[in-house]
Symmetry: D2
Subunit: 406 residues, 4 copies
């Protein structure tokens, strides 16, 4: 065991990370710095201060990172229309690099030699926290209690609390859920419980951010989103900060039953896992971003983005936000977005979001050329013959040599 003097812990204020505070103090004989971030999880962060103080923590960081989170992580990711495995909007994955960055910044400020987190040894989050930490501060040490200790069961955890006088009501902040949940401004996730059987349907009362489509209003809601450089900047004409934008879209989406997802995904550590997600604002944003790109992006640029996207998504999912290859891809993605400006009109209705209109000063849609009506010579149909003939040439030569495609 390396000698550790001070460790920065990602501290939620809940029971598990409170136990970790004490465990770190006991096991490593080190000072613990707690870091609690508001990234839009929907719970007060300030109460974490008193809890940390009660555990003897002297350096306590409580930060509101919501704007930074949406501006520097969520929006850049959405520029790529990012989806993991065809369906997942990466709501957990994209929050982790910000936490990792802040842990390291605090380690630098406080002279800590280690960081710690409460993620288990089976999941992706440990990877995301630790790859980020190592990439930003190569000499940092990482303590992952769930991989080290023997407090794996609820009983042993409770015994530890009793023995170390950790108030068990630390865990009482919310109604006990049978699911493991995680939330931030982009989404809320559910795992565990009956979801561990992929054949079992999630219960209706599991979902927290959205009404069911049944319960959504019978009248559609129309909104207009304005984009600049690929990012949404105004809603129905009103400019909103990144975090306010996402909060507002979450409310609109949730009210209209939008953004629920139930999937089995492939974790980086090698296993399949069932997860349910609510991403109301993100679901709207993805549809809207594709719509504004559909009239402003060049075809080949759009296709190249689509071909690169799965790899970009995989990088983020696997925890490589802080990596040179992500930055290389981001350079390409961002380069494409300077023309992604304009407005998208969307219809939100009982679980679905439809782009019903899009317009832009940068539109490449040319009605004069595309029209079924007389185009006044804007397009010479005869060009198509040569186009087809030469595109067919290699196929004709092959067929002429007897190659048979049937």
């Amino acid at each position: 065991m390396s000698k550790i003097d001070k460790v920065v812990l990602a501290y939620s204020g809940g029971l598990d990370t409170s136990v970790i505070v004490r465990w770190l103090q006991e096991t490593y004989g080190c000072e613990v710095v707690t870091f609690t971030a508001d990234i839009g999880q929907g719970e007060e962060v300030e109460p974490a201060r008193a809890k940390a103080e009660a555990l003897g923590v002297k350096e306590i960081y409580i930060d509101d990172l919501r704007e930074e989170y949406v501006r520097d992580f969520v929006f850049p990711m959405f520029r790529a229309n990012t989806i993991y495995e065809g369906e997942y909007l990466l709501g957990t994955s994209i929050a982790r690099p910000l936490i990792a960055k802040r842990l390291i910044e605090i380690a630098n400020e406080t002279g800590a030699d280690a960081i710690s987190h409460g993620a288990t040894g089976k999941g992706n989050d440990q990877v995301r926290f630790e790859l980020g930490a190592y990439a930003l501060k190569p000499g940092i040490q990482v303590i992952a209690p769930w991989r080290e200790w023997d407090l794996g069961s609820r009983d042993s955890l409770m015994n530890y609390c009793e023995k170390h006088k950790i108030p068990v009501d630390f865990s009482s902040g919310k109604k006990k859920s049978p699911y493991s949940m995680d939330a931030n401004l982009l989404h809320i996730s559910y795992e565990g419980g009956i979801l561990e059987d992929p054949w079992a349907e999630a219960e209706e009362d599991m979902w927290r951010w959205s009404v069911s489509p049944e319960a959504a209003p019978d009248k559609p809601t129309y909104i207009t989103l304005t984009f600049e450089n690929g990012d949404p900047v105004a809603l129905d004409g009103e400019r909103l900060s990144p975090a306010t934008m996402l909060e507002t879209l979450n409310k609109l989406g949730g009210d209209n039953g939008i953004g629920r997802l139930d999937i089995v995904e492939n974790r980086y550590v090698g296993m399949k896992s069932r997860g349910c997600y609510e991403t109301p604002g993100g679901t709207i944003l993805l549809r809207a971003h594709r719509a504004i790109e559909s009239i402003t992006l060049d075809r080949e640029v759009a296709h190249m983005k689509d071909e690169l996207m799965p790899r970009y998504a995989k990088l983020i999912y696997n925890g490589y936000w802080w990596s040179p290859e992500r930055e290389m891809l981001q350079a390409a993605i961002d380069q494409s977005q300077s023309v992604v400006n304009g407005e998208v009109r969307l219809k939100l209705y009982k679980g679905s979001v439809t782009a019903v209109g899009r317009r832009s000063e940068d539109s490449l849609f040319d009605a004069r050329i595309a029209t079924f009506e007389d185009d006044a010579g804007a397009y010479d149909q005869k060009d198509a013959e040569g186009f087809i003939k030469l595109n067919a040439l290699r196929l004709r030569i092959a067929a002429g040599k007897g190659r048979d495609l049937l």
Copy 2:
């Protein structure tokens, strides 16, 4: 102008292709063979016989290709979870190679030296028909009247009809629509009219295959799809032929308001174009296929499929179904599907389709490993440390040399 003796025409029985029959006879002095296919467009094909006879056609082909269409074109495409530009299910594109193949088969049977079609010089369909034809019979000649004649306006077309005694009621089979429409078992499409303004919302009464989510039942419909080798073979336990499967899913989807799409897409000929689509069964099928893959496919295979998919979609959209590169990709896709067996339970409700359960004899989901509960040693959490450490090594070395990612 090459000497042409006999031409096989893709003949719908409608006004435009009826004009083409006469125009081919007049312009090329050649015999015309008509070919009319039922690919599920929802109109009788048999009436085309009398119309063709009235135009003096002696060799008339009327084929029911529905099963072949779904079995050999739609299903193979869905094995790849194919979507063009993130949203379009390729309902028009995938029908064209079958038409091209049949045109060539008939040309071979009848000794024709040319084929002809009624697609315009601005669209993708001309490319798809002609690339297919050239690839399957390199010496074939192609006549694309819309690129040659001067009957571009409705008036000139009507004049031509009058002059050549073509009964105008050939066009009266259906209520006149302001949209250019195309349908087959996979979808119905709408273009033109007010859709030429991408800011204008499609009118509710344009949609023909699906009710609006508002009008859909207030109770969800649950169905179970069984897959074998990546293809759906049974619905709620009843085995269905490919065409019957898709027809049934269309009905179920349409009744529940599923599968409407409104996009601006990039055509192969270089322009952007607005299109609205209804693909009820296909939308269900895509979701279901991803769900069954989610528990049966290896992670890296799934990711590779996702990375190849945009290119595969582009090949089909651009008309290269009959090409060696599509066959090469298909070999990889099909190779992956032997394990894609099992059942998916789906909830259809007011426009949305959700996979709520999935199970399979070939499932790789291992609850024993993924569980949040005690896994009895199935997974050693300590392995994660080495995994992370070595994955981080290159990043740590770089950071240690002063590379800064912030």
Copy 3:
């Protein structure tokens, strides 16, 4: 035929383009502006002035574009280690976008409404010139005489010269070659003649820039190249301008028998074509650039570059240098190169070029970690176990379920 008042012609001063001057004047009744560029083809460009004047040309542009060519086209391309179809260094392809750009600049300066070039209708160069021109000036008209006129045979061309009093010795600048050749600072190419039989070996006396390996010195030549931001900036410690660098490497490479290539390539217009190339400096540069990247680039960045490269090469080969998708890829490539600094030591010997040493302030090579000797704890071999175990997990689960890979 559109009305054309003034056309800018890419004019070599040779017979063919001299005929084009007259043909344009005759056919279009327009004024011709000639543009002759020195891009290192190894012939004097100034003589073109008198020839153009003799043909009645009033606006004559003669530019030395060698530095711009290497700096803004060749070097950016080499940052990607670009090779087409595994072997071809794109020596012709990369020169065309510069010519296209200059033609358009001159058209803008002189108020010309058209450009013209002497490329045939079978090759790639017409595509490269014209795509570039259209992309930079969408309203420009393009005249491609070889696609229009009936002077396809040498005889008819000679007759035209006689009839129009074009001095035939315009063509006499160099020894008549049986090959169609093209040269610029990056390479010289040979096509046609006996090369049209891909089984026939090229004759030794065809090659012009390099000695045969046999004739090369018996002693190796060692050189050291210094790179900054991915570009070579100094040779054996002496800073050289881009064009001088490439000229010098050409000399060194040619003297040592380096850079000959004999391939069959796939043209964009759909046919296969045999070409022989000499690219002495480029061959050295490619090897050297890979060597400096090998110690300075992150692994995943290097791999992503390798995976993107074939598409980047194809874009350039097909004529899409001036396209948003090339610029998007270039942004990613260039982003990766800020760390590509340092020195490479190369051995040039009888046709081969070997990187024998590489060093850099930005090196990520860490002998302390890689060593076979005692590494003093820099690397913990035990980490490998967890790394392998988790990477194997999905494979073990699959095998445990009976999946058989044999």
Copy 4:
């Protein structure tokens, strides 16, 4: 420590693996089965029998795997023109999955519950052996002594030998080299020693399989290779078995100074490492395979192979030969090779190998179309205009809207 009864060891007969035999016996109290394979490393394998017997081994496997190795591993890999990081022909990587497969087969035959190997914890080979083993037999246990024991230094190893009476002359089979070497039919590799300084040139006397280009004959050697389905089957008209083919090409290449390589590569475990390689036959084969593909493969198939190749190479390098994603890619690659038939004529001369001729019944090269001479109407140059115009359309529209590429 798990209870292990019997372990199959990849046994070379050298000192290190002899020590491992004893160490396994001592440490695990288990029976050791040795497996020694001839994969063309150029040393007798039979002497390993007596050594194993002397160590008390009762079950001894000595196999000649040369034909299987080349036929089922090397040739399939060469069908993809596989190169790692632009230069490395994967000579070590491709031999490992065969060893892994055989270890597991022997474990199954002998009822062993573990396998073991002599690869260190820093390299790629441990990963390749173990991923393969786990993929083929998920319950197998793996013992990697170099990651477990404390015999890391030469001294401690010698002490161990003395203490356990292992004859030290087990190591005396060959002249002691300052390099760590590995050989099989595809290549010989060198690492360590002065190569750990990437600026230091390899010494001439390090190379064992090839003469220096200086020492190669002054006259070129011409050979003709015949391919069937992408694999070389005959040399100068004489059919050769796979292993004999590669052996013969190694001799020819080595005699002509072909196939030396000096690179810094990126290991899967995260570090950069300097390696020198001699791959004489493989270098010839790669060039020849590309040449036969150049006339027989469709352009788009060839390009897709080039784009997939880096990922395929990475899979093999990283040890994922036995994986479903490799098999999926292989299906695509193999699907493309049925037309790769014909002959390539090659010139071997002083370190370089040039394809000087290629011919095939399946050739798509059509001199009639490609010719600079009169093509008798095989190609209509006017088609190029429409081809270019439509390919340019999106670029013109964008430029017309003010998009500026300069």
